[in-house]
């Protein structure tokens, strides 16, 4: 059975300084800082999250950390995301323009309409997912424009690390979803529904993925390249 870990976001009361999975704040580099530069405006991209690829969920992952960034442009699309991979055992060259800046912009959280730079640790709950073929993980009837998603396979839904990604675009899925050379790292998706006051109900920070958009992060089996894919409708 595929194993995943459901994510619960926990507001950090102090800066997270270990290379563990977290969202917001500043990246904890395990190698030399390599902050990506946005192709459009030549600015430092916005740090969203870092994912620690621990052996329990990612066997053979070489103690890597994947750092997820987005451009300031909204909505976020696949084209405006970038992932940096670092490993404790090898130097992995970045595949985009970077700057050696240690710090930079990160995702903000809106609290009472005030923008705050908050940081979220995670608690993880391991789940044994039933194996479900990609094409059967989602059908059109599971999305209502009034009520959001009502996933049949609830074990696959929600924000999680590893496991089987849900694909909702109703087209030929990109190779990341189909090709075993890519390993699923993270899914940002609701357990059910989607919006709460026009904001996604499944993460606490501001990340505009488009209406009913989902985000998935993958890494190749070599551990040398990671990508984020935004599913948009």
């Amino acid at each position: 059975m595929p194993k995943s870990a459901k994510i619960s976001f926990v507001l950090a009361d102090a800066q997270v300084q270990q290379p563990v999975t977290k969202f917001g704040g500043q990246p904890v580099w395990i190698g030399a800082p390599t902050w990506p530069i946005d192709d459009e405006f030549g600015e430092q991209m916005i740090f969203v999250a870092q994912f620690a690829l621990t052996p329990d969920l990612f066997p053979g992952s070489k103690e890597s950390v994947v750092y997820l960034f987005v451009a300031a442009s909204e909505p976020v699309t696949t084209d405006t995301t970038t992932c940096i991979v670092q490993s404790a055992h090898a130097a992995i060259p970045a595949t985009c323009k970077t700057t050696p800046e240690l710090t930079g912009p990160s995702v903000i959280t809106l609290r009472d309409e005030v923008e705050e730079q908050l940081e979220y640790a995670v608690t993880l709950q391991t789940v044994d997912e039933p194996t479900v073929a990609l094409a059967d993980r989602f059908t059109k009837s599971e999305l209502s424009l009034k009520d959001g998603y009502q996933f049949r396979h609830t074990a696959l839904a929600g924000c999680k690390l590893a496991g089987q990604p849900i694909y909702v675009e109703q087209q030929q899925a990109p190779e990341y979803f189909r090709n075993p050379d890519w390993v699923h790292i993270c899914q940002l998706a609701p357990d059910h529904g989607y919006f709460a006051q026009f904001q996604p109900n499944f993460y606490p920070f501001v990340l505009e993925l488009g209406e009913y958009g989902l985000l998935n992060v993958f890494i190749n089996t070599d551990g040398t390249r990671a990508v984020a894919y935004v599913q948009s409708l």
């Binding site: 946005d38 459009e40 405006f41 030549g42 424009l145 209406e211 409708l233």
Partner: protein
């Protein structure tokens, strides 16, 4: 910006289309939109090609909304009807002549005629060439002149929230506004139109579900059905259809022109919901016309990030939303216009922003026999029953009519009213959205039949001093960077003109 590339020439801004409302107003009767027809049987016997030409020379009714000189040069400017720039009337007449030649007086099967129609459609850049109707009522229809339907209205709609003035919103105090000045509707969703028409036509109709192939069309000896009259599509096929909007009960306006003035940007987080249904309109229009969907998502004409959309203006109104090729929506439209406008507003500018779209036509038609095959697999029992009913009674195959939802022409103009000018970042080359510095290729009246991966063709014009637009040369190679890109810097006016793929 170091990558700015401009052509040295300047030209005056193109004159806006002078729109003369049709006497009936914006909403044309469906009957007005059916093409002139030539009887298929007559076509097969026809000795004088002129007869077909005369029968079949009208353009879409939407041509009535413009003067001829606004879209096409006079006929005398062309001698080659195979040129995509030749007038639609000339291309249709030539296509009719060529079709007659190809048929060579021989009787045609439906398949062979379909192939010949494709030949003339390709050669003369027609938007469609097809047989409509059945038996003695069968006709050949030749369509041209795309992207010309303009929704019209006489009553602008404001998107300002009630109470925004009283609340003293900065944006409102600055004179910001958003309003629709052209639109029509509201209309039902395409999927709903499809199912309503199928059900209205076929519910209760007798069928030959068991052995439909044994029923010869036009048999004088009427046979009765198998006793299983067609029931509703809906309870028989939940979730099995290729459409998204067949159960959508709401009605939605069709966008034409939206005008905005903005000096306050939205800020973090979205300000509303509602664009996805418009992407589904596009998806369903694709399915209805081709059997497959996936090009479009829901796009804003004026993006909600450009304005004070959380506190003062609603940017999720149906008159501000249209099906848009997904990769045109983002990153092309965002990079070329929306991000630069947001940054200019953030720097203190007030921007006048006008976006208008046009459609290939107001309505399009699809034969029930074709539609049912696009919506259901060959083994689907409901499709089998409908096809049997059509075999039994070919008169049931009169075309269904749908409201066009996907625009084929898009023009957005941003003009600085006060404050700093507009500068873009690097706008990257894409394979699905092709930059073109030739205005005639993106004009509303030009034929647009993209092939391969192309979904959109667009150009960008800028004006830094109010003396007229300069056309960008578009993406250029950049040292050390994969792919090409371009940008513009410190411009008082920026205009994007684009053609978007539509189906017919």
């Amino acid at each position: 910006m170091s990558l700015q590339q401009h052509q040295p020439r300047k030209h005056n801004p193109p004159a806006p289309n002078r729109v003369t409302p049709h006497p009936k107003g914006a909403l044309q009767d469906a009957a007005d939109h059916s093409p002139a027809h030539a009887h298929l049987t007559a076509l097969q016997r026809m000795a004088d090609t002129r007869q077909l030409a005369q029968d079949d020379t009208r353009e879409d009714v939407t041509d009535k909304t413009k003067s001829p000189e606004e879209t096409q040069p006079p006929d005398a400017a062309y001698s080659d009807p195979t040129s995509p720039d030749a007038p639609a009337d000339l291309r249709k007449r030539a296509a009719a002549d060529k079709l007659k030649d190809l048929m060579a007086g021989a009787a045609q099967t439906k398949d062979s005629l379909t192939k010949l129609l494709q030949v003339v459609a390709d050669r003369f850049h027609l938007s469609a060439a097809r047989v409509e109707g059945e038996g003695k009522t069968a006709k050949v229809a030749l369509y041209a002149s795309p992207a010309l339907f303009i929704p019209l209205t006489t009553a602008p709609i404001s998107g300002q929230f009630a109470g925004a003035t009283a609340a003293g919103r900065t944006s409102v105090a600055n004179g910001d506004y958003i309003r629709a000045t052209n639109y029509d509707g509201p209309f039902e969703a395409p999927g709903k139109q499809a199912f309503d028409q199928i059900e209205s036509r076929f519910n209760g109709v007798p069928t030959f579900a068991s052995t439909p192939a044994t029923v010869s069309a036009g048999s004088k000896k009427k046979k009765k059905g198998d006793g299983s009259a067609l029931a509703s599509t809906v309870p028989n096929n939940p979730g099995s259809e290729g459409l998204w909007t067949q159960y959508e009960a709401g009605t939605y306006m069709r966008a034409g022109t939206v005008e905005a003035l903005t000096s306050v940007k939205r800020g973090a987080g979205r300000s509303g919901t509602g664009e996805t249904i418009f992407g589904r309109f596009g998806y369903d229009e694709e399915v209805i016309l081709s059997g497959m969907g996936g090009f479009y998502n829901g796009g804003h004409m004026v993006g909600d990030q450009l304005m004070d959309s959380k506190k003062a203006f609603s940017l999720y109104e149906d008159w501000n939303l249209v099906p848009q090729v997904a990769t045109f929506n983002s990153p092309v439209y965002t990079s070329a216009l929306e991000n630069p406008i947001v940054r200019a507003v953030e720097a203190g500018a007030q921007i006048r922003y006008t976006v208008r779209v046009q459609y290939p036509d107001s309505t399009y038609t699809v034969l029930p026999s074709v539609l049912i095959a696009r919506l259901y697999a060959a083994t689907d029992s409901y499709r089998t029953h409908v096809e049997a009913a059509l075999t039994y009674d070919p008169t049931l195959n009169a075309p269904f009519t749908f409201r066009r939802r996907v625009p084929g022409f898009w023009q957005a103009t941003a003009e600085v009213v006060t404050g700093p000018n507009i500068s873009s970042g690097n706008i990257k080359e894409r394979f699905t959205e092709i930059y073109d510095d030739d205005a005639t290729k993106v004009a509303a009246g030009a034929t647009y039949t993209p092939t391969g991966f192309e979904r959109v063709r667009y150009m960008l014009e800028t004006d830094d001093d109010g003396t007229g637009y300069t056309v960008s040369t578009g993406p250029q190679p950049v040292d050390g960077v994969f792919g090409k890109s371009y940008d513009y810097d410190d411009q008082a006016k920026v205009q994007m003109t684009a053609r978007q793929k539509t189906l017919s």
